[in-house]
């Protein structure tokens, strides 16, 4: 069966996602030795950077209607910028591989634990639980998507095999997306803003029969994350050093580091300075 990694990158005014995707693809090559397909609405920019060879395939998509969100760079600086995140639910149709790992480009690889996706029988894997690099923060928004106990799943990182059952799941997400205003209200999200984590969580909840169940199994290893309030100080081959916001001291930081551990670094503005 063909295997590979799928990633998405479409630039906005401040964040060079394509450049970050190049860095990401190089790390995938190093740690997983898998081909990477890039889905982008900025193919011309990819050509201008002359980086086509980094990718196995480049799939051009139209620019979606973009959402706006506040991008933080540490706790005191932020900008309201657009972002394009709607293609993720089309990963099943877009992927040229029978077995695909889909990763956010800000998911920085330091090891090969994801290769275990291919040696197990489950057709859809995704993280439900995650570890904040900073232990004093409470993140209830990463536990449930609403107050009714629908569990939160991380759409930043998942694995699927092309099977009928998984296709049903992705088709369900297309239906949810087409009727987003309705379903965001039914699921009591509190906001109509589209978010991949939410649509994946809702679809998994439905696939589970509206119960807390385990249709979706966990990805190999465990997921670590740093918020966009945290600043990347050092990022090299085997470790990352972060400035993490201190408890109750906005704008003050302490240090944390991770070695040989995959980590989702949400501060895209800071990540841009290191790739």
């Amino acid at each position: 069966m063909s295997k590979g990694v799928l990633c998405f990158a479409s630039n906005n005014l401040e964040v060079d996602y394509v450049k970050q995707a190049v860095y990401f693809a190089k790390r995938v090559k190093k740690h997983l030795n898998l081909p990477v397909t890039l889905v982008t609405s900025d193919v011309n920019y990819v050509d201008r950077l002359n980086v086509r060879t980094v990718f196995d395939k480049i799939i051009s998509v139209d620019k979606e209607k973009q959402n706006q969100k506040r991008f933080y760079d540490g706790s005191l600086h932020n900008k309201l910028l657009s972002f394009d995140n709607a293609s993720r639910i089309n990963a099943y149709d877009l992927s040229p591989y029978e077995e695909t790992i889909v990763l956010d480009i800000d998911y920085i690889l330091f090891n090969n634990v994801f290769l275990n996706c291919f040696n197990q029988p489950h057709n859809f894997l995704i993280y439900k639980d995650a570890i904040d690099v900073c232990h004093w923060r409470k993140n209830p928004e990463f536990e449930y998507i609403n107050d009714n106990g629908v569990p939160f799943y991380w759409a930043t990182c998942f694995f699927f095999r092309k099977t009928n059952e998984v296709q049903v799941f992705f088709n369900l997400m297309k239906h949810l997306k087409e009727n987003w205003t309705h379903y965001s209200s039914v699921f009591d999200l509190g906001t109509p803003t589209f978010r991949n984590d939410h649509i994946f969580s809702m679809a998994i909840h439905i696939m589970n029969g509206y119960k807390d169940s385990n249709w979706a199994k966990p990805m190999p290893g465990r997921k670590y994350f740093a918020l966009d309030r945290d600043v990347i100080e050092v990022l090299d081959d085997d470790h990352v050093i972060l400035l993490v916001e201190k408890e109750k001291y906005i704008g003050e930081y302490t240090l944390a580091s991770l070695k040989d551990t995959n980590v989702h670094l949400m501060n895209k503005l800071s990540l841009g300075g290191h790739v």
């Binding site: 634990v113 275990n116 040696n119 197990q120 029988p121 489950h122 570890i131 690099v133 900073c134 232990h135 004093w136 385990n214 199994k217 966990p218 190999p220 290893g221 465990r222 670590y224 100080e233 050092v234 470790h239 050093i241 993490v244 201190k246 408890e247 302490t254 240090l255 944390a256 580091s257 991770l258 070695k259 040989d260 551990t261």
Partner: protein, 114 residues
């Protein structure tokens, strides 16, 4: 700033960073204790290794994995050996990293930032 207060605040910073870094090392140890075999996922703990020791006269066994699914292990001896050595390697790495950490008395040095 009063020198006494400054020193106390410095130590407070050190403690915060130390405790967080210690937690990350512990989590890393747990990560390193996850084994994948026969399509199953197994978290290696002292209890699990002890359970495996009790199966030492068997050639094969069905073991329940982290997803509560049965996994057939056809070469139990190899699985047990690999599990024990993976756990030992993870513990050694944890020990080494922890020793390095407690040898450093400044927040920057704790995380290898010098």
């Amino acid at each position: 700033m009063d020198e006494r207060l400054e020193k106390a605040l410095d130590f407070g910073n050190y403690t915060v960073t130390f405790n967080n870094q210690k937690r990350l090392l512990t989590e890393k140890f747990y990560d390193d204790c996850i084994a994948y075999q026969g399509g199953g996922r197994f978290t290696l703990t002292r209890e699990f290794l002890s359970y495996l020791s009790g199966l030492k006269n068997q050639k094969r066994a069905v073991i329940i994995d982290d997803n509560d699914l049965p996994v057939e292990i056809n070469d139990l001896e190899e699985f047990c050996d690999n599990a024990r050595s993976q756990y030992a390697e993870a513990a050694n790495q944890y020990f080494k990293s922890y020793k390095e950490m407690i040898a450093n008395r400044k927040p920057g040095a704790l995380v290898g930032y010098v």
